[in-house]
C-alpha cells in the first residue's frame, strides 16, 4: 500500500480526466432515495454522496444478470465458439463493503476452477473506492467490512482540506500520476485519517451477534419451530439474492434462434430461495420447503465460507433487509439465534 494526499482542487480535474479518457461508471441519483451506478459522461451527473443503491455495482459489471458464455452453429458439424467479453472500465465511488463483496467473488470465481468470463472483466476493471454513509439496515461494521484492505486500485477518503489516498496497485499509482500531482502522506495526514475512520465507524448503528453464530447455528439448526417462525412470511421470491453483492448462484440455459441453426448458452442469476433450486430430474427436490431454503441461505452466507475461505459471504450491506417484501432481516435473525441459545 502506498499513501498519498491530493488537494481538494485537484479532485475535480482528476475525475474529469477519467471521465473523458475512460468508460466511467459512477453513482448517479435515480430518485429521492436511490442511486444507481451508470455510465457517466459529465461530472455534474456524478454524486458520490449516496447511501442507497439497489444492485451491487461491482457484481453488475463483473457477473451480469445474463451473460452469453458460448455460441454454436448446428450444421452438419457443430461449431462451438466461446465468448469472453471484457473492456476497460473505471468503477468510481464504490464503497468499502461492496469492494469486500467483490473480493469475495474474486476469491470464489478463482478457487479450484478459474472462471474466465469473470476474471477477464475483473482484470480490466479499475476500481476507485470512496466511503459512503451506511443505511439504517447496514451492519457492515459487525461483519468487519466497513473498511476495505484491498481489491481497489485507489481508495479516496475525503478529509477536511484534502483527499487521503490509499493506492492498492501499480495501475492505480500510474493513473494518479498521469493526471494530477500528489504528494506523500505525512504523519499529520495519517492522524487526520485515523480520526476520520474513528468517526466514520461510529455511524454504523446496527450491531449483530455474528461472533457466536458459527457454533450457535449448529444447535439451532434442528429447531424446526425456530425456522418455521423465521421463514413464515417468506414468499420464496429471491429478491434477497438479486440485490446481494456476494450471491453467485447461476443457471445456464440454451437459447435457440428461430432459424434453429444458431444457438447459445446463456448464464443467468439463480436464487437459492426459489422452490426449484434443488429440484432434480425425476422430481426429487433436495430443498423442498422455504424454511429449509432460508436456513440454507444463512448457512451459505455466514458459515460455509468461514470453513472454506475463512471469510463470511455476507458483508452486511443490508440490501436484502431493505428489499425483502416480507421484512425478513438477516441481522435480526442472527441476533435471534444468539437470543435463543444464550441463557
Amino acid at each position: 500500500m502506498l499513501y498519498k494526499v491530493m488537494s481538494k482542487g485537484d479532485y475535480k480535474a482528476f475525475v474529469k480526466s477519467l471521465i473523458s479518457n475512460y468508460e466511467f461508471i459512477g453513482p448517479k441519483r435515480k430518485d429521492k432515495a436511490v442511486h444507481d451506478f451508470v455510465s457517466i459522461k459529465d461530472i455534474s451527473e456524478l454524486d458520490t454522496n449516496y447511501t442507497k443503491t439497489t444492485i451491487p455495482p461491482a457484481k453488475k459489471l463483473l457477473f451480469p444478470p445474463t451473460e452469453k458464455l458460448i455460441t454454436y452453429e448446428i450444421d452438419n458439424a457443430i461449431k462451438v465458439k466461446p465468448i469472453v467479453e471484457s473492456k476497460e472500465i473505471v468503477l468510481f465511488g464504490i464503497n468499502a463493503w461492496d469492494i469486500n463483496g467483490m473480493n469475495f467473488l474474486d476469491w470464489f470465481f478463482t478457487t479450484d476452477f478459474v472462471d474466465d468470463n469473470y476474471m477477464a472483466k475483473r482484470k480490466k476493471l479499475i476500481v476507485i473506492g470512496m466511503d459512503t454513509d451506511p443505511t439504517e439496515t447496514n451492519f457492515a461494521l459487525s461483519m468487519g467490512s466497513e473498511y476495505a484492505k484491498d481489491g481497489f486500485d485507489l481508495y479516496l477518503t475525503e478529509l477536511k482540506d484534502k483527499y487521503f489516498i490509499r493506492i492498492g496497485t501499480t495501475r492505480g499509482n500510474e493513473l494518479l500520476n498521469k493526471y494530477i500531482k500528489v504528494s506523500d502522506a505525512e504523519a499529520e495526514d495519517f492522524k487526520k485519517y485515523d480520526k476520520y475512520m474513528d468517526d466514520y465507524r461510529k455511524k454504523f448503528k446496527l450491531d449483530v451477534a455474528i461472533k457466536s453464530f458459527y457454533d450457535n447455528f449448529e444447535i439451532i439448526y434442528n429447531d424446526e419451530k425456530f425456522w418455521k417462525k423465521v421463514a413464515r412470511d417468506c414468499y420464496s421470491c429471491g429478491s434477497c439474492n438479486l440485490v446481494c453483492p456476494t450471491c453467485f448462484c447461476f443457471n445456464v440455459r440454451d437459447d435457440m434462434e428461430i432459424n434453429l441453426r444458431d444457438g447459445s448458452k446463456i448464464r443467468e442469476w439463480d436464487s437459492c430461495m426459489v422452490p426449484d433450486y434443488g429440484l432434480v430430474a425425476g422430481g426429487h427436490n433436495f430443498r423442498p420447503n422455504k424454511e429449509n431454503r432460508l436456513k440454507q441461505r444463512y448457512r451459505c452466507k455466514l458459515k460455509t465460507f468461514v470453513d472454506k475461505f475463512g471469510t463470511y459471504a455476507c458483508v452486511g450491506c443490508g440490501r436484502c433487509i431493505e428489499t425483502c417484501l416480507a421484512k425478513i432481516s438477516i441481522a435480526e435473525d442472527i441476533n435471534s439465534v444468539k437470543k435463543e441459545v444464550s441463557v
Binding site: L69, I70, I74, P82, V84, F113, D115, D116, A281, C300
Partner: protein, 286 residues
C-alpha cells in the same frame, strides 16, 4: 506461471462443451438406454480419461445440459458410455436421438473418490438400488479388470420389478465368471422370478464378509441410504469403510453454480462420492 497470448486469454474453458457423436445406443429397459460416445476431435479423444465414479455434463444442443455418470470401463480410452433414464428435459431429448447424433460433452467431473486403491486386498461389498447401479458400473468394471488384486466381491442389487433390472448382459457375464457374487432382489416379482423379494437392504444381514476386512459402496435413491447405513453399522462397518455416491442438481460441474452444495461441500467437486465419515455430521447430506 504460464504466460498466455491474447488469443488464449480470451478462451474460456469451463463452460465450453466438446462436440461428440453417439455411436451406439443400447436399450436396457423401457426407461433406460446406454449411449456410447466418441469425441469428434482426435486430440480430445486421446486425452480423455476418467476415474470410476466420475460424471460428465452432456449438452443436447438447443435444449440444455445435464450430468450423467460414466458406466464404461476406465481402461477403454477411445470411447465412454453413459446410462441415461428418460426422466427430464435433456434425458428425454437424448432418448429421442439416433445413432450418429451430435452432443456436447464437458468433463469428466467429480472426485472419482471410489477408493479402488484402498480396496485392494479387501473384500468389496457393492449395494445398488435401481438406477444407482449406473454410477457403480465403472467401479465394478475396474475391479474386474484387476480382479486378482481384490478379495471377495459381492453385489447386492435391488430393483422395482424384473423388467427394470439394468445391465442384464453384464449380470449374466458376472454370474458366468464365478469370481464375483451377485444377489438381486425385486419389490414386485413376476411369475418367472426366482430371486429375492423385497427391499435389497434386507439382504445385508446375510452378508458374511468380516466388516474389518471389507469396504462397502452404496448408490441408490436418497431414501435408501438411511436404511442401508443402519444395516451396515449393525454389521460393525466403520464410517470410513462406507462410501456413498450422492445425487444433487449438478449444473456446472465445477463448483460455481452452487446448486449442489451441502454445508461446506460442493457435491460436483468434493463428491459425488463421499465416505460416510466425511458427511456423517454434514446436515442434510443424507
Amino acid at each position: 506461471m504460464v504466460l498466455k497470448t491474447q488469443d488464449e486469454e480470451n478462451k474460456s474453458t469451463l463452460y465450453v462443451p466438446d462436440v461428440a457423436r453417439i455411436t451406439r445406443i443400447e436399450k436396457l429397459s423401457s426407461t433406460e438406454k446406454v449411449f456410447k460416445i466418441v469425441f469428434d476431435d482426435e486430440e480430445k479423444r486421446n486425452n480423455f480419461s476418467f476415474k470410476p465414479g466420475q460424471f460428465v455434463e452432456l449438452t443436447v444442443f438447443g435444449l440444455g445440459e445435464a450430468p450423467f455418470s460414466i458406466v464404461s470401463n476406465p481402461s477403454n480410452r477411445d470411447f465412454f458410455k453413459l446410462c441415461v433414464r428418460d426422466a427430464g428435459n435433456v434425458s428425454g431429448a437424448l432418448h429421442r436421438m439416433e445413432e450418429g447424433s451430435k452432443v456436447g460433452i464437458r468433463g469428466p467431473f467429480g472426485n472419482g473418490y471410489f477408493p479402488y486403491q484402498k480396496m485392494k486386498n479387501h473384500n468389496v461389498l457393492l449395494i445398488a438400488g435401481g438406477l444407482g447401479i449406473a454410477p457403480l458400473m465403472s467401479l465394478i468394471k475396474y475391479i474386474l479388470h484387476y480382479r486378482e488384486e481384490y478379495k471377495r466381491i459381492l453385489i447386492i442389487y435391488g430393483a422395482v420389478n424384473p423388467k427394470s433390472i439394468l445391465f442384464k448382459y453384464e449380470i449374466q457375464y458376472w454370474n458366468n465368471r464365478g469370481d464375483i457374487s451377485i444377489c438381486m432382489s425385486v419389490d414386485n416379482p413376476d411369475d418367472k422370478w426366482t430371486g429375492e423379494i423385497g427391499a435389497c437392504t434386507k439382504l445385508i444381514p446375510r452378508v458374511n464378509f468380516p466388516a474389518e476386512d471389507t469396504y462397502a459402496v452404496v448408490c441408490g435413491p436418497p431414501i435408501m441410504y438411511k436404511y442401508v447405513i443402519k444395516e451396515l453399522e449393525e454389521k460393525k462397518f466403520l464410517p470410513e469403510q462406507i462410501f456413498l455416491s450422492l445425487e444433487r442438481r449438478m449444473e456446472c460441474g465445477v463448483g460455481k453454480c452452487n446448486h449442489c452444495h451441502i454445508g461446506d461441500k460442493v457435491v460436483c467437486v468434493d463428491g459425488p462420492v463421499f465416505s460416510l465419515w466425511e458427511i456423517e455430521n454434514l446436515k442434510e447430506a443424507i
